[in-house]
């Protein structure tokens, strides 16, 4: 199905048995760690609503974090791993230039769900990638309303890694002039932001 996110998995064959002095699988293991890690992309909005990301060009909400600017909250739903000790790497790449606009790495915990998977708690912002998007002084196109390649990778304590990527459209909330302004190409830090900015729609990459 074209709509599915691309998933690549790298599997290390060592270190899967857990600690010898701990009988049985650790409490945080979900699925079968002898199998490749499976994952799908998630995004979260400011209201703790989690949305799976399967369909290319999905609008992903930008939001204002505690320290200002505009971020995406993105993460993974995964299984066949220990969800209590993961390093999460998130990034946004401009498919028009192949440049990486922003990268973030952080330790996260994924909590087991009833269906045998694990995902970040909806109300815990620190367990999600806080991917800084706007402003970005290196951007050559608008940062919102346009398509960018979102990549999310996890690395487990045992060294196994997995990643998924999908083209998404970072999107300001309707009427959020501050977001629209900071996410414009050419925004200079401290610029006065006019009201009534239009969000625009995704366009093809400019001819080089």
């Amino acid at each position: 199905m074209r709509a599915l996110a691309t998933v690549t998995v790298a599997l290390a064959l060592t270190g899967l048995a857990g600690c010898p002095d701990q009988p049985g699988p650790p409490a945080c293991v979900v699925g079968d760690p002898s199998q490749p890690i499976e994952l799908t992309l998630l995004s979260r909005d400011g209201g703790s609503q989690i949305t799976p990301l399967h369909v290319p060009m999905t609008a992903v909400p930008l939001m204002v974090p505690e320290q200002g600017g505009q971020i995406l909250l993105v993460g993974v739903r995964a299984r066949n791993l220990d969800g209590c000790s993961l390093m999460l790497t998130t990034s946004l790449r401009d498919p028009c230039t192949d440049e990486v606009l922003t990268v973030e790495r952080r330790p996260v915990l994924l909590a087991a769900t009833a269906d045998g998977w694990a995902e970040p708690a909806a109300d815990s912002t620190s367990q999600w990638g806080n991917l800084a998007v706007c402003p970005n002084a290196g951007a050559t196109r608008d940062l919102q309303g346009q398509h960018y390649l979102l990549r999310v990778a996890v690395e487990a304590d045992d060294g196994r890694t997995a990643e998924a990527s999908l083209e998404v459209v970072p999107t300001c909330a309707a009427g959020d002039d501050g977001c629209l302004c900071q996410c414009q190409a050419g925004y200079d830090l401290g610029d006065e932001c006019p009201s009534g900015l239009e969000p625009g729609t995704p366009t093809a990459c400019p001819a080089s």
């Binding site: 320290q67 971020i71 606009l101 912002t125 620190s126 806080n130 290196g138 990549r151």
Partner: protein, 355 residues
């Protein structure tokens, strides 16, 4: 051995000998031909408390309305200072100059909002209030043996001010056992005018901050990383990193802007292992790849709070995990930071903020 007791006694005397008295700093007051001086009036910080104040002052007109070009910044800061930052005031959100009390910063009229240690409510502690205020300069250096930082910019590189533009000087003092303010709070800043007549290049600044950090008792060793890109090819000339008591290592690297993997060690240009006196690298000449930027790593080791209790730390945790988790916040005993202060040239279009 008859000499041994004497040697022991000498050693004990030496160990109990108080440190030499602090020599008050002395910073020349600049005339209009030399630049301009800011002097924060001395104040006391009660033991066991912190103090963050926001002072607003306008750049003076030194020469018939012409831009003020500065090529040297010198600070003198009494020990106990956690940071002193200067920003250009832009969008006003919750921190407004007109809400401050009148005060003098040396000869210049100013206003001040006293944040005291009300980190939960006072607007001087809420960093979203200055998210689009470009950084001008900062110092985290307030050593009792050497309270000065003398930062000379490279030849013909200048900080450009417009007469009348509003600056915010933010002081943060800590008076605890691990960062004592024994001699009172006192901050002086001199901005020295560029004296050359030839062409100059403007200095740009980069301020970056990591969102939603979390350092917990049950997961005590954690590292957070981020990136920030420049708008044009630049030379990095100075940098310093900022974290709090759990901070163990702050690294900055040149980043190529194309890779999602951490840069190689050879690309590292800054390291700090001291949360309470981080080095200010002022003689850098780092040129990241074109279309590149910087990558930083903030590594932490959980330790128990030294002034408050884990109950206080837990009360601030938005996740209410009960795991003594330090989260983003200005108070050094309760919160953590991962902030980059960096200076480069040329500034072409914009200063840089990465959240």
């Amino acid at each position: 051995m008859r000499l041994a007791p004497l040697g022991l006694a000498v050693a004990l005397v030496a160990c109990s000998d108080p440190s030499p008295p602090f020599e008050p700093w002395n910073l020349e007051v600049l005339g209009p031909d030399q630049g301009f001086s800011l002097r924060v009036p001395p104040f006391e910080v009660p033991a066991g408390h912190e103090s963050q104040n926001c002072y607003f002052v306008r750049v003076p007109d030194l020469h018939a309305g012409a831009d003020v070009l500065v090529d040297e910044v010198k600070t003198a800061i009494n020990p106990g200072s956690h940071h002193m930052n200067v920003f250009r005031v832009k969008t006003l959100v919750g921190l407004r100059p007109e809400d401050g009390a009148p005060i003098k910063l040396g000869d210049l009229d100013a206003t001040v909002i006293y944040g005291a240690d009300d980190y939960a409510h006072n607007p001087c502690w809420q960093s979203s209030n200055w998210a689009d205020w470009p950084l001008v300069a900062n110092s985290q250096h307030a050593n009792p043996d050497d309270p000065y930082t003398d930062w000379k910019l490279p030849t013909d590189v200048v900080i450009r001010f417009t007469p009348g533009e509003m600056l915010m000087v933010q002081t943060h003092y800590v008076n605890t056992t691990d960062q004592p303010t024994e001699y009172g709070a006192n901050v002086g800043i001199n901005f020295y005018r560029h004296q050359g007549a030839g062409p100059t290049q403007d200095m740009g600044t980069l301020f970056a901050t990591q969102q939603s950090i979390r350092v917990c008792r049950s997961n005590p060793s954690v590292t957070y990383s981020g990136t920030c890109r420049f708008p044009n090819p630049v030379t990095i000339i100075a940098a310093n990193g900022h974290f709090h008591k759990r901070g163990r290592q702050f690294d900055m690297f040149a980043w190529d802007g194309t890779s999602e993997d951490p840069p190689a060690e050879a690309a590292r240009f800054y390291r700090s292992s001291a949360w309470d006196d981080p080095p200010m690298a002022i003689d850098l000449a780092v040129t990241p790849p074109a279309r590149g930027g910087i990558w930083w790593d903030c590594a932490y080791q959980w330790t128990a709070p030294t002034v408050v209790t884990c109950d206080d730390v837990d009360a601030k945790d938005p996740d209410h995990a009960g795991d003594c988790c330090y989260t983003f916040g200005g108070n050094t005993d309760v919160g953590e930071h991962c902030n980059v202060f960096l200076y480069y040239y040329p500034r072409v279009e914009s200063d840089v903020f990465c959240n």
